[in-house]
């Protein structure tokens, strides 16, 4: 089998591996882009397409498609920030999933391509003064271009898998509007391995799309290089200083600008290290906390085959603040959520084939804060509000009902204070009365927003961090193009919106 993947046969000299870098490095480009995830990769490609010289700097390594395995621990070690152990700290500890490799979180997410809800964009325009930056009319051509480039489409029949099929069928029976998830993929084979990196490069993560495309247009990527700070001289960004994993310094000058796309957790601390002092920097952190629920059927479900996330219910997004979805879990992650220890756990693992996992994400009202913790680490403080928890337990009750109506023999809610296995629909009401205490739930956080908000005005250190031209209020030619600029969360998976805004931002930077 000599299949070649898009992350192979790259132009000579296009990749500088910070792990292998044997000397200090100094170079000049038109633009330096920090971060190679959804935002940074698209920005780098858009800039390179215009003929500009571009350096893309990524803190993590480039793990190639050929090296992807199906073991979660290997993926955690090689591609996840803090080896998958990062948490939000607040009333409870909530695992926080972020990629730390070329392609960022797009390497291990489900490549979901939902456009943002119209009402969210209207809210951004009205409440935060974002004007046409947040208009669907302005964003539409960018969505169209991204969807065409990455092959966005609903999950195909042959890779739907039982986990998704049961969910869709049951929703339809109950008159609930459910849809097949729209994803960026070209030829998904249903390996169920989105979380450990797509082994066939069918999933159009940035590692096999916009990053290699940018390199083929002449861009260069510096991998395993952590940016210490953006160099700002006389109020203008002129480059970055990074440290290669091998220990050598990397100085990259930027003639036309530095674009920061390091994520809503890393971007604010990078800007702080670069001397920005806006009071709102790192504030207003938002996420989509989510949790999964297991249901055991009397027949095989085989989560290990099919689209990892292939079905969505958005009907309750505006009314209840929740989105319901499927998520197939690999054994290592399912084992954590399966109730019990010892023989009880073993007996449940023995019926893994019959297990389905469905989930909810909540469009949380809560806001947190990104600070710098001990040893310089990025620290995120975040707690869910009572209102969020009410939404969560309502969503869990809906999920449990769906499970029982679909014929599940047992439902595993994973809520402290509630029986670990519910065995009849009569018990669903227990979830509606679950304690309004974040410590009772097993949340996980993805989708991060808001720590360098965009807005038209700034008074002293108060107000927004970034202007409507994506440029920081404090330093010229320093742009923020990731979801840090989002004034709020979305209620749907944000990758598509992040990429569209990054594309729009890059076009505007080129026009500036």
């Amino acid at each position: 089998m000599n299949q070649s993947f898009p992350d192979e046969d790259l132009p000579e000299g296009a990749v500088v591996d910070g792990m292998a870098l044997g000397r200090p490095f100094d170079d000049s480009y038109d633009f330096v882009v920090v971060g190679s995830g959804a935002a940074g990769a698209v920005a780098a490609h858009t800039l390179a397409e215009s003929g500009a010289s571009v350096a893309l700097v990524e803190e993590g390594p480039w793990v190639k498609t050929r090296d992807f395995g199906d073991r979660v621990y290997d993926a955690f070690r090689g591609m996840y920030r803090d080896a998958g152990t990062q948490v939000l700290e607040g009333d409870s500890y909530i695992p926080l999933i972020q990629g730390a490799c070329v392609g960022g979180s797009t390497v291990m997410n489900s490549a979901i391509a939902w456009r943002p809800p119209e009402e969210v964009l209207v809210d951004w325009q009205r409440r935060f003064g974002l004007g046409d930056v947040a208009s669907m009319k302005v964003l539409e051509p960018h969505f169209d271009a991204l969807e065409a480039a990455l092959g966005a489409r609903g999950v195909q029949d042959e890779v739907l898998g039982e986990n998704n099929r049961i969910f869709l069928e049951q929703a339809e029976k109950q008159g609930i509007s459910a849809v097949r998830t729209r994803r960026y993929e070209r030829g998904c084979r249903g390996s169920g391995r989105c979380m450990t990196g797509c082994p066939t490069a069918a999933k159009q993560g940035m590692n096999v799309s916009y990053v290699p495309w940018a390199l083929r247009l002449g861009a260069r990527i510096f991998t395993s290089c952590r940016v210490d700070r953006v160099v700002i001289v006389s109020g203008r960004a002129v480059g970055i200083v990074a440290r290669a994993k091998g220990g050598h310094p990397v100085h990259l000058r930027a003639r036309r600008g530095v674009l920061v796309a390091a994520s809503a957790v890393q971007t604010p601390n990078l800007l702080r290290r670069s001397g920005l002092r806006a009071r709102d920097l790192g504030e207003h952190f938002q996420a989509h906390p989510g949790l999964g629920m297991g249901g055991v059927f009397d027949r095989p479900v085989h989560m290990e085959f099919g689209a990892t996330q292939g079905a969505d219910i958005e009907q309750f997004r505006t009314s209840d603040g929740i989105k319901l979805e499927t998520i197939s879990m690999p054994p290592e992650l399912a084992a954590v959520r399966i109730p019990g220890i010892g023989r009880e756990l073993m007996n449940r693992l023995a019926v893994f084939s019959n297990l389905a996992v469905w989930a909810l994400i909540v469009r949380s009202d809560s806001e947190g804060r990104v600070t710098t913790g001990w040893g310089g680490r990025d620290k995120v403080v975040f707690s869910l509000s009572k209102r969020d928890l009410e939404r969560v337990r309502g969503g869990m009750a809906r999920l449990a009902s769906l499970f029982f109506d679909a014929g599940a023999l047992e439902v595993w809610p994973g809520v402290f204070g509630i029986p670990s296995a519910l065995t009849s629909a009569d018990q669903v009401k227990l979830l509606e009365d679950a304690p309004l205490d974040a410590r009772a739930f097993s949340f996980i956080a993805t989708h991060l927003f808001g720590t360098a908000r965009m807005g038209p005005e700034r008074k002293g250190r108060e107000g927004s961090v970034v202007g409507l031209d994506f440029q920081t209020h404090e330093a010229e030619r320093l742009y923020v193009v990731d979801s840090s600029v989002f004034p709020t969360n979305l209620g749907v998976n944000p990758q598509h919106t992040i990429m569209a805004l990054a594309r729009l931002a890059s076009v505007r930077v080129l026009e500036a």
Partner: protein, 142 residues
């Protein structure tokens, strides 16, 4: 025990405790074709873990091992460690911790369960059993 390479991280006593703690969580069921976690390279995994995760997490794992190993002292009020109890009693003790009203105690068990699951769920024999009946993925895990 396969792969029981002496660990520089955990002391000899802590290794014995770690073995007992993880065996309590993932004891295996021979009839179901599920092996005990102690048949896997537990110490190799723990050593690698120490090198992989941030130091604060590695210390949390170590603390959790010691805490759970010594928990019979305050769960059973007996001068015993988990390693000296039989499996049934061990499970009762650790279940007490896992369902404790104190969030921090529940989290300590969860940390160990999470880490153990990364090793256990990745084993080819375990996966073969878990994926049983699906020809494509059963084959993959060989």
């Amino acid at each position: 025990m396969r792969g029981s390479v002496p660990s520089a991280w955990l002391t000899g006593v802590e290794r014995r405790w770690a073995s007992a703690v993880f065996d309590t969580l993932f004891p295996g069921i021979a009839d179901e074709g599920l092996v005990s976690i102690t048949e896997l390279d537990l110490f190799g995994f723990l050593d690698q873990l120490r090198e992989t995760v941030p130091a604060r997490v590695a210390w949390a794992v170590r603390f959790a091992i010691v805490f759970v190993a010594l928990s019979p002292l305050f769960v059973l009020w007996r001068l015993r460690t988990l390693a000296s109890l039989d499996q049934v009693v061990r499970e009762r003790v650790v279940t007490e911790l896992a369902t404790s009203r104190v969030y921090g105690i529940r989290q300590l068990v969860l940390i160990l369960k999470s880490m153990g699951a990364l090793l256990y769920g990745a084993d080819a024999r375990v996966r073969r059993r878990m994926f049983e009946g699906h020809p494509q993925r059963s084959e993959d895990s060989r």
